[in-house]
């Protein structure tokens, strides 16, 4: 374990987090949890992009992936909920 340095550890933490939340997204009972899980994966991916020296991609992923896409998911769920209540 001599070759292990800080960035390796961060990479492993990032990887485990992404895998964990991917599983949460697919198997959570509530659909809303899945959407939040997806958003977190995207945020963790932003850290991964910064680790790999890709600031352009990190900014884009942060704004689009974890911001706007999540908003679209939430709006879709919200609309479904409202229509469900009307019925």
């Amino acid at each position: 374990m001599t070759a292990m340095n800080v960035s390796d550890i961060i990479e492993i933490v990032i990887g485990v987090l992404m895998t964990l939340f991917a599983v949460v997204t697919l198997f959570s009972r509530k659909i809303f949890t899945a959407v939040i899980g997806l958003s977190i994966i995207s945020l963790v991916a932003v850290v991964a992009f910064i680790m790999m020296q890709a600031p352009d991609v990190a900014i884009t992923e942060a704004v689009i992936g974890s911001g706007l896409v999540t908003a679209l998911f939430v709006f879709t769920l919200h609309a479904g909920k409202e229509e469900g209540e009307k019925k």
């Binding site: 600031p55 352009d56 990190a58 900014i59 884009t60 942060a62 704004v63 689009i64 911001g67 706007l68 908003a71 679209l72 709006f75 879709t76 919200h78 609309a79 409202e82 229509e83």
Partner: protein, 252 residues
């Protein structure tokens, strides 16, 4: 049963990918391991040296002038100069998918109702933040050739500002006709700039303006113009899509 088969399939696929990537079976071709990449074997080294159209000296920030691509951010010079055609395609992808959203979620619509009406402070605070966010978005694409960022995140930040207004105010809606005109105009100007390059330089999307000094705000030829157009287009397109999602059809 189906889950088990899928799991088996994924395991096979995973094993296949891992073995092919990390256990090369001889031959002269092999995938480089993570981090052990030599850029000299790739086209990218020429993008970094700006030496695509012939050998070039070392590029120095703030000093080198009239390079073949004048952007200090190499990703930007790839996105808007070397592989600008891909970017035109990418903008088209967004255009066609928002057109699809418009077709699917179109017609006469009204806002989704909130359970709790947003209060005064929220509404007006959001307006203030809106201004700041728009300025930040514009900064992002105006400096796309110098700092990380560019047209796509810049436009998305503007769209996020509009999303903020949608979230804070349950009566707010953008004017869809205006959005369509902005998006069509920005997009067609991009294509027209490309055609202007064809007319003046003989190549579609040719960078026909002087490239200036690397690192200056007014440099890099058409890159800032194209990025501004992309920012405007992306911003208006995603706002249009947000409007589709934040509204519901009015029952006739």
């Amino acid at each position: 049963m189906k889950k088990f088969i899928s799991l088996l399939l994924i395991a096979c696929l995973g094993a296949f990918i891992f073995i092919s990537l990390y256990f090369p079976g001889g031959g002269t071709l092999a995938f480089p391991y993570y981090g052990d990449v030599d850029l000299n074997g790739r086209v990218s080294q020429a993008y970094i040296d700006k030496s695509v159209n012939g050998p070039n000296d070392v590029v120095v920030y703030g000093e080198s002038t009239d390079e073949e691509s004048g952007s200090a951010n190499m990703v930007t010079s790839i996105v808007v100069d070397y592989r600008s055609f891909d970017t035109l395609g990418e903008v088209t992808v967004l255009l066609v998918s928002t057109l699809g959203v418009g077709i699917l979620l179109g017609g006469k619509r009204k806002r989704l109702e909130y359970k709790h009406a947003p209060n005064f402070i929220l509404k007006h605070g959001a307006r203030l933040t809106f201004g700041l966010l728009v300025v930040f978005g514009v900064y992002m694409f105006a400096h796309g050739h110098l700092t990380p960022g560019g047209g796509f995140p810049g436009g998305s930040i503007i769209a996020a500002a509009i999303l903020l207004l949608y979230l804070a105010d349950d009566e707010f809606r953008v004017k869809l006709a205006g959005i369509k005109i902005a998006e069509g105009t920005a997009g067609s100007l991009y294509v027209i700039i490309g055609l202007a390059g064809l007319a003046t330089g003989g190549y579609f999307l040719y960078n026909f303006l002087p490239n200036g000094t690397v690192g200056k705000l007014f440099s890099a030829g058409i890159i800032p113009i194209v990025y501004a157009l992309i920012g405007l287009k992306v911003g208006s397109e995603i706002s249009g899509a947000i409007d589709g999602f934040a509204t519901e059809e009015v029952a006739e």
